[in-house]
Amino acid sequence: MNISGEHLVQAIKYLAAGIAMGLGAIGPAIGEGIAAAHALDGMARQPEMEGALLRTMIIGQAITESTGIYSLVVAIILLFVV
């Protein structure tokens, strides 16, 4: 079996895309979970604030998600562009 540099690049490309996506998904997942937990806390305490809390929670989660989106973009670039 002779492995040339091209095959190595291919293999490492897929590996890198997997690692980028896998590690990048941890942070946003934990962060969004914390945001949802605290929003639920607030809703249980003050059910009349539900609308405003939901809206703010979604904005916060969307911004928290950015890092996950960046790692997805990096993974996509690794898979299809590099």
């Binding site: 609308g51 809206r55 979604i58 904005i59 969307a62 989106i69 973009v73």
Partner: protein, 245 residues
């Protein structure tokens, strides 16, 4: 199935030294989405009665309820005059993104929003509009001076902040919708391979595949699509409000 994932049908037009390329499928799909929205608007408009004393029909009640919902959810907490000016734009943005996301549940159809050019275009439009509304409400002098706050040497940070905000606004929608499409394709083709490897599983393969495909499309197409459309419109209104007040 997996081999065709990154491929696109590109139409290249050469206008002298300028080469303009179009993604034919994306242009066609976004025209289809626009036509659906126009047809829906024309159909719902007929529900508005000519004399205001007429009894409220079902369509009119739906229309009023939906508009109240949009006003409450997308523009809650805005000053009334800014909300009045922003409402048509933000609602149109929401409906366009929503229907663009939802159209991917039709087999063979592609969301326009899974193309980065579309989402980035929408994000840049929101960025330009936020400057427009900021200049209209505060005046150009006050608006551009706000870039020197809190300290003048933080000007690069403010500019980078604007840049990153717009970039992540476009990438968020693109990443979520495109990621969902990739996931649907990968899960379905992997399942097909697993079922093909198990003997005696072939009769159940079709039923299982159709069920799994329906579930995945319902989750990524309908649910995530609605959430992301709401997030996109909400962030657009928040960005404009941050600039304008």
């Amino acid at each position: 199935m997996l081999e065709r994932l990154g491929q696109k049908l590109i139409l290249k037009l050469e206008l002298g030294p300028l080469v303009v390329s179009f993604d034919v499928v994306t242009v066609a799909m976004s025209l289809v989405v626009s036509l659906i929205l126009i047809a829906l608007a024309l159909w719902l408009r007929r529900a508005i009665p000519r004399d205001p004393e007429a009894p409220v029909g079902r369509k009119l009640a739906f229309l009023v309820g939906a508009f109240d919902f949009f006003h409450e959810q997308l523009l809650g907490g805005f000053s009334p005059e800014l909300a009045k000016r922003l409402f048509p734009m933000i609602t149109t943005l929401f409906l366009y993104v929503l229907f663009s996301n939802w159209i991917s549940i039709v087999p063979k159809a592609e969301s326009p929003t899974q193309n980065l050019n579309v989402t980035m275009g929408l994000a840049l439009m929101v960025y330009a509009l936020s400057h427009y509304y900021a200049i209209r409400t505060k005046g150009a002098r006050v608006h551009f001076r706000s870039y020197l706050e809190p300290y003048p040497f933080l000007l690069p940070m403010n500019i980078i902040g604007d840049f990153g905000r717009t970039l992540s606004h476009g990438f968020r929608l693109f990443g979520n919708i495109f990621g969902g499409t990739i996931l649907i394709t990968i899960v379905l083709s992997l399942t097909a391979k697993v079922i093909a490897a198990i003997p005696l599983a072939a009769p159940f393969g079709l039923v299982f595949g159709v069920g799994l495909g329906t579930f995945l499309n319902a989750w990524f197409g309908v649910f995530i699509g609605a959430i992301q459309a709401l997030v996109f419109a909400l962030l657009a209104s928040v960005y404009i409000r941050l600039m304008a007040t």
